[in-house]
Symmetry: C2
């Protein structure tokens, strides 16, 4: 064990294990999680070469191998609870992706929820035994978030009782679905349903892609890998071009909407029924943001405690880089953010499960709020976490750039969340739509409840108009007071956006153009709303914590999170008159004090995330802090070192020398 990091651990003022239990949701959950993790770690089948040393085809091969092993192991161990499967996967995936990911996350759940009884009986056993390996093909080459724009057609032919599927244009080629390129032999294809000469919009169809015996693509199915990406090297994201592919009528998923044998279309009872999965996945991503940032902070903070560089005082030994104020200022607010997002993720999970219960009882009342919240928070947390991962990487200096740090892998695999499952700016505008609607309702005299109740007329009237007209009441040392300030900032910025729309309308532009001409303000309002929600939920979490030591250090983190957000958005807080100029100087001063206060607990705070070395897969983030010897050992395994002299010397350099 590196003595520096040992000393850090000795200096901690709280019980790390207790904080781990809080993050896991209880001592029993920690225990079970560790049991499952050790199943993977101790399994010789999962010991493999660092994926970074392999070619893309080898990486895909290794991922398929691992997925196939995992399926057998999960059965062997009798693990079937989704949370436990998720936990198992988190370790075995490390910072990479799973080859059969979409079979689990989209193909199976769609079959479970959208098959009618006969379909369920046929398809679920096929899928559960992996005879049918599937993916979910929605996005097209020219069409993403805007579903109405999708072009793939499924035209019903009553003569044969079949649907004929087609990709009528280049832009209609299905593009991006994970596992579509090489792995899947089936896909759930989203297509515009045409029957009896009429288009009824998007519906889901089970389309066989490859022979279940030979795996060779079926006639009319042009399928393949879309090529290398920023990350996800292990995954065969694919394309699919359908050329008059005929499937039986029963391949349309018919739990809700139906096409009868003669071609008669039967509408689904509610459009909201397909809403749920999307909301669930976005909620999950919020937790993933906390996860990715927590891993990154673990690596950067551990490395900062063993890395010595430059000098603060001449003649003295080089200090740990964590002693530099600038390093603390980079990393500790991100550490606070990671905790914040982990807690928000827990909250979203709880709300989702509660509301899902309501929905199954036919109560959709809370869905719009959850939909708006999950959209905005997905965008808010993935943007900030992505930036934060890169800050962590660069805080490791040059070595962060090496794949041995794991930070490049964490970044490229996480940053995809900013553009998938709803592009972030579009997400922010969806939340804004809910905020503006709520604002208008409140203005019309409705009393709002829930998280947007701050938009109520009565509350708004209590808001500050400007610095001069009222005394400043925010106390920068009091978290509750800061939550209030964030709330008022959100209220103010929603109002600014609403007024921008009004002003545009007064110029006699259309409603739609007024919206687009106010889009910058709308995104800003959503952002402030989400920021408020995060600060509020972090503060609320503190109320649940009994242990004094843990409560104290989390309170410091929460205060740091809130104050740093104010400093970074100081223009908003000054502009809305919520803070005065002298108070902002106070904020800066207080931030520096909090950094110093957190310094002795930094390593313990990342230890509490409890990522084993096998999950981090980072030489810089090793628990024992023995970084340099392992970097050397890792480098020697680089494929370029397999031979002393690379063949290119004989092929190009020696001939070059001969010619000059």
């Amino acid at each position: 064990m590196n003595p520096d990091i040992t000393r850090e651990r000795e200096n901690a003022t709280f019980n790390v294990e207790k904080l781990t239990h809080i993050l896991d949701g209880g001592i029993e959950k920690t225990k079970r999680r560790r049991e499952i993790e050790s199943l993977v770690i101790s399994d010789p089948d999962f010991q493999s070469e660092d994926l970074n040393f392999l070619s893309r085809s080898e990486r895909y091969d290794a991922a398929v191998k691992k997925s196939a092993q995992m399926i057998l192991k999960l059965r062997e161990y009798g693990i079937s609870d989704p949370e436990e499967i998720y936990c198992y996967k988190s370790v075995f995936r490390g910072n990479h992706q799973e080859a059969l990911g979409l079979h689990f996350s989209m193909f199976l759940p769609t079959l479970y929820t959208q098959c009618n009884k006969e379909q369920f009986k046929k398809w679920v056993p096929l899928a559960e035994s992996f005879k049918a390996m599937g993916t979910y093909a929605q996005t097209e080459l020219g069409h993403g978030t805007h579903l109405r724009g999708l072009e793939t057609t499924a035209t019903y032919d009553p003569a044969t009782q079949e649907f004929v599927l087609n990709s009528p244009t280049i832009t209609s080629i299905k593009w991006w679905p994970g596992g579509l390129g090489k792995t899947s032999n089936h896909a759930i294809v989203l297509a515009q349903l045409h029957t009896q000469g009429k288009c009824h919009g998007l519906h889901a169809f089970i389309v066989p892609l490859r022979s279940m015996n030979t795996h060779i693509p079926l006639p009319g199915v042009v399928v393949g890998d879309i090529g290398p990406k920023f990350g996800f090297d292990e995954v065969d994201n694919g394309y699919l071009k359908l050329e008059n592919v005929r499937i039986p009528r029963e391949h349309m998923l018919m739990k809700y909407a139906k096409v009868e044998a003669d071609g008669t279309y039967v509408k689904p009872p509610s459009a909201k029924l397909t809403y749920g999965t999307m909301v669930f996945i976005r909620s999950m991503i919020v937790g993933e943001a906390g996860h990715a940032l927590a891993k990154s902070c673990t690596i950067a903070i551990r490395y900062s405690s063993v890395r010595h560089q430059s000098e603060i005082r001449p003649g003295e030994p080089e200090p740990q880089i964590m002693d530099y104020q600038t390093q603390q200022y980079k990393l500790f607010p991100l550490l606070a953010t990671a905790y914040a997002y982990k807690f928000v993720g827990q909250y979203m999970n709880q709300v989702y499960h509660r509301i899902t219960g309501d929905i199954s009882q036919g109560d959709f009342s809370e869905l719009p709020e959850l939909h708006a919240l999950s959209a905005g928070l997905k965008a808010f947390t993935t943007w900030t976490a992505s930036e934060g991962i890169e800050v962590c990487r660069m805080a490791c200096g040059g070595h962060g750039y090496s794949r041995c740090s794991a930070l490049p892998d964490i970044y490229v695999n996480f940053v995809a969340t900013c553009t998938y499952e709803g592009e972030n700016t579009v997400m922010m505008l969806q939340t804004a739509r809910f905020l503006i609607k709520s604002y208008q309702q409140a203005s019309a005299g409705h009393q709002l409840s829930g998280i947007v109740s701050y938009l109520n007329e009565s509350e708004r009237r209590l808001q500050p108009q400007s610095v001069s007209s009222r005394p400043t009441v925010v106390n920068v040392n009091d978290l509750a007071s800061l939550v209030e300030a964030y709330k008022l900032r959100a209220a103010k910025l929603v109002e600014v956006a609403a007024k921008s729309i009004q002003q545009e309308l007064q110029k006699r532009v259309s409603q739609e153009d007024a919206w687009n001409n106010s889009a910058i303000d709308l995104v800003r309002a959503s952002n402030a709303h989400c920021h408020y929600v995060v600060v509020k939920l972090f503060a609320a979490k503190l109320g649940e914590i009994g242990d004094t030591g843990v409560h104290s250090v989390l309170s410091t983190l929460a205060l740091l999170y809130a104050l740093q957000g104010i400093q970074q958005n100081s223009g908003d807080f000054l502009q809305t008159g919520l803070l005065s100029v002298p108070q902002l100087s106070q904020v800066s001063q207080r931030l520096k004090e909090l950094l110093a206060q957190l310094r002795p607990n930094a390593v313990a705070l990342v230890d509490a995330f409890d990522y084993c070395d096998e999950m981090l897969n980072s030489v810089l983030g090793r628990y024992d802090g023995n970084v340099y010897e392992h970097m050397f050992e890792w480098a020697r395994r680089s494929p370029l070192n397999k031979t002393e002299v690379h063949e290119s010397y004989h092929k190009y350099l020696k001939p070059l020398q001969a010619k000059l």
Copy 2:
């Protein structure tokens, strides 16, 4: 040609070609650049598979091949002017790196400037004929920016008149030098010189690494590749462990410092002589920031003009995504930034050459200012450009994540500049040291000249103290007035940092701790200083432009750049009383107008950068806008598509199915 992009070009209000000449530095330079580019483009030897489809070893192989070809071609065409070589390389490298990069950029220049006459006669011909292929080995596993911390030793042995080189610890292993792992047979090694029982600090030595006949590493030389990185896959960044490696005394570079046969050490005449290269490389990086961002904007803006998505008005066709205000708000300020950095790069280049002239006359007076400016601007521009590239990538939605967009390549290869050639935060603090020193000189009554003259006492006394005590004079529609505002902000933030240091000193902490405890403020001050310099230089450039159409569009860009900087740092401008709250609303409004105003010129403004398709290597950024058919064509070439059924199906999936 895609009709959307044709229409964009028709709508431009200025002459694209004239703007290209300004960016190149004159019509003749444009002509010559295009001649050189066409040499590469038309050369069948440079047509190769997309590097993204290859394994790392294949990429290295391809890069060595290309470099060897390039060396022969440059001789064949008689291209020897450094600027022309740079231009040639820019095309042939595309978004990737060159295998022999450090031989050109560090090995040869060091030989040119630090060899004495005899050494020059021996080594320069060897290096120019590539018999000696070299790199520059400074950074060590445990030591980066802080040169005094380097541990490699060169101990003089008068008995044999040799230096004995050693890597005494794990942390002293040389790490990162490009071309060190497999390519080079020599390195200039920086080591602590020991002679006659005394250490004389860092000196440079020519160390043979591999046999010039067989390329096999020499005895005592442990050398290899450091493994895969975020980018730079083509480069064999290497490690080097020296175990009692003996080199003749004449292998120490002796133009300035010397060790005589008996071991007597002779000091160099000035320590500043090695300063120049560092300053030059950092200045170059500023231009590279403009370059990388300009490429990214070209891709994102062209794609935004042909990409249709969602709807603004219901029932109408999907609009070009460039019509969304949020998209304009992401991209146009970055476009303005790319122009700004290109102009700053031109300026730095000119200043460097002027000052180099002075230095060769023995006049070092301007060097500290240039050193401080190049350090800060390197950090300021690389940070913002890196973030900007990612914004451009994400503005392309999901497709930006594909390697076919080229944006991942541009990002990973550029972002390394944030941590190499001086880690950015350290760079900012170096600039801050200069600013604080200047501030203290001014406070002591000295009259400062040059770029920091705004810190003079007399000027500072004219500055605003707070909103209430003086009328606001900034005119948000006038660029000159905004330059003034940026200047006053910088002055104010330098003062804040200086006062923080004073306050710390009053608490009786040491000078060094006071500095560290004010580091956040110091970085903030440097940042404001650099921002001021960029705005000022952009404004100054406008004065050189005669053409009305070009002047008009560049003025709009400059104003956009300045106003967006104010909006993003509105806290600073409010806090220092430079702007009032109503003025900030004006800024927001004005920004929206400028976005709309730039909209018709956006494509023309990126066309003016004049990157040929071969340099961009981006399917999304194609000049003809025919994106989707080429994406499909590119994807089909993916190595995973070489076979219809990937071998992993037979190896893992079929057996899995059999077991379930």
